[in-house]
Amino acid sequence: MPSNKSVSDASITQFINCRILREHQLQREDLWVRDGRILDPEKLFFDEQGYADERVNCEGSIIAPGFIDVQINGGYGIDFSQISEDVSSGLSFVSKKILQHGVTSFCPTLVTSPPAVYHKVLPQVKVHDGGRGGAGVLGFHLEGPFISVEKKGAHPESFLRTFQAGGMEDLMEAYGSLDSVAMVTLAPELAGSQSVVRELCRRGITVSLGHSVANLSQAEEAVHHGASFITHLFNAMLPFHHRDPGIVGLLTSDRVPSGRTVYYGMIADGIHTNPAALRIAHRAHPSGLVLVTDAITAMGLPPGRHTLGQQVVEIQGLHAYVAGTTTLCGSIATMDMCVRHFKQAAGCSVEEALEAASLHPAQLLGLVHKKGNLDYGSDADLVLLDDALNVKATFISGEEVWRKEP
């Protein structure tokens, strides 16, 4: 008989025997959930005289906020950038699979593609909450086509574009619609980009700098206009130079407006970023580090040849190359692997490693009022982990959506 019916009929779950990540620390606290959100048990006790209907024994697990991946191109044979009549079923497939990596919401990422792909794919997917069916979709991350030819990486050169018509017109011509877009990666040195940065930010879309040869002052100007992210730091940008550190210099720039943080994506798969470089970035700017998988079609698949966008890629071990070359074209690491590798390589605390995959991406996307933390009122998107940070179970809105086989 839960005595809380006066407030809500929803049942109350109490996760016991756990350490929860709250206020940057693992704390020996129970976690209470009602109506898909984290509940303040003290208020429940004194105001409602309520108690838990159900107790989940976590057997000493760590409970962290569900991981958020802001850059994932596909996986398990699905490529989000491949044109298809039924994009949403492929997306659902991947979103369900990544629950086992602790990912509870993500930004499906489209690499540089012809307009036809954007026009076909974007309208088929709406921003939606996660659940039993899979991780929630926070909106697309459109990486390109407004990027630098010199730093195109694995993006097909023939589809790269510039802001020749002045800015937003070019953008809208390429993408068609921005309704379900959360983030755009562009090169800030492209003429006309600054007005695009401003307009995207005005519309609540996160602007990321990447695949670019921008110098530091160009990058700082873009930040001044609202850009707040760096796409896979060190990859597809000018290497650090002490007289012009380029985009990398944003990590320690004193021209970032006060009160703002520039975040940066880090593919901590042990391949895309040398551990020493990872440590440099982490030590220079720990609060901005956002772990991304940048995972491609082959994530979750065996070695061999696979398609990424309009290209063929080859998987060898944990490396994914443009077929026939040695150009890296994305990773096949999973988010939980990245968290473990990051902790080990950076020598950081468990808390820091977990926050780089939860709190920081939520801050980046302006979602901290409901995601990326275990504060009262936030969504009960949770990942249960053992001490070695292996995922044991995943919950979305308080509901168990995945559990490791015993």
């Binding site: 005595s3 003290e42 004194f46 005289q49 309520g50």
Partner: protein, 276 residues
């Protein structure tokens, strides 16, 4: 009166917790038979609460059929303020055990009618059948609950203005800012605690030594309100060595000599031994 003298704070806390544990177990509480427990806040009882939580987690006791009544609460301090006694009880005790909110009672210092709140509190104690065991701590000036020096020894639950000493002592919990410290409280009266079947007072630390001396070696005096319990038929003072510094050697020796008898009170009762 019993005076229990333990070596240090931890031992005193453990002794007190075991005493409470045994009282609950021997009472054999049930749905029609609640054990009523009066509870204090403050730094002194924290060790005792920790032990009780331990006993609960080990499955030795349950608070399912226990009703608690707290001694006091500040007036006008938001309930969720970290220094409120509601927050204290939640963080140091209630959230760790299986007690039901409806069985806990803490005075509401934000009630619209404070006097009515106090009267209702007395009524709730009566309705629960009185208090079996009232646990308390004391201040260096010998106050029990917020019954500051000069409080009537016949007092009931009421609004009380805090003494300057208490406000200054509490400032450390409010950023050292005297203006933030509540100046009034709701508190059970000395008479309210006197009505309990049994009273246990925890006194630890050298700074409480003079108060312990006043409590047990001098006469009953409203300037040291804890001394009232000399007239209670069943009171046990639990203290550490430091708190005995002002006592006469004779007093200390007498009570220490009885420890082997008193320690029987905290041996695990047969019901607990059987379960293990």
């Amino acid at each position: 009166m019993k005076l229990i003298i333990l070596n240090d704070y931890d031992e005193a806390s453990e002794w007190a917790a075991k005493y409470i544990r045994n009282k609950i177990l021997l009472f054999t509480p049930g749905p029609d038979r609640y054990f009523t427990l009066g509870l204090p806040t403050g730094s002194t009882p924290m060790g005792c609460y920790k032990k009780l939580i331990e006993y609960y987690k080990m499955g030795h006791i349950s608070f399912q059929y226990v009703k608690t009544f707290n001694m006091d609460e500040y007036v006008g301090l938001p309930r969720d303020h970290p220094e409120s006694y509601h927050s204290f009880m939640w963080n140091h005790f209630f959230k760790h055990i299986d007690i039901k909110a409806e069985n806990t009672h803490i005075l509401d210092g934000n009630a619209a009618d404070l006097q009515a709140e106090c009267a209702a509190f007395e009524d709730k104690i009566t309705a629960a059948g009185g208090i079996e065991l009232f646990v308390g701590g004391i201040g260096p000036d010998g106050h029990i609950a917020f019954n500051e020096p000069g409080s009537s020894l016949a007092s009931r639950t009421r609004v009380k203005t805090l003494a300057k000493d208490t406000i200054i002592a509490n400032a450390r919990f409010f950023d050292g800012d005297l203006s933030k410290v509540p100046t009034m409280s709701l508190t059970v009266g000395v008479g309210t605690v006197m009505d309990a079947k049994e009273v246990m007072i925890l006194i630890t630390g050298a700074h409480k030594a003079f108060a312990l001396y006043k409590a047990i070696e001098e006469g009953v005096n409203h300037m040291w309100t804890v001394s009232a319990f000399q007239q209670h038929p069943q009171t046990v003072f639990v203290c550490d060595e430091d708190a005995t510094l002002e006592l006469r050697v004779k007093t200390v020796k007498y009570f220490k000599g009885m420890m082997h008898v008193h320690n029987k009170l905290v041996e695990p009762p047969p019901s607990l031994l059987k379960r293990n």
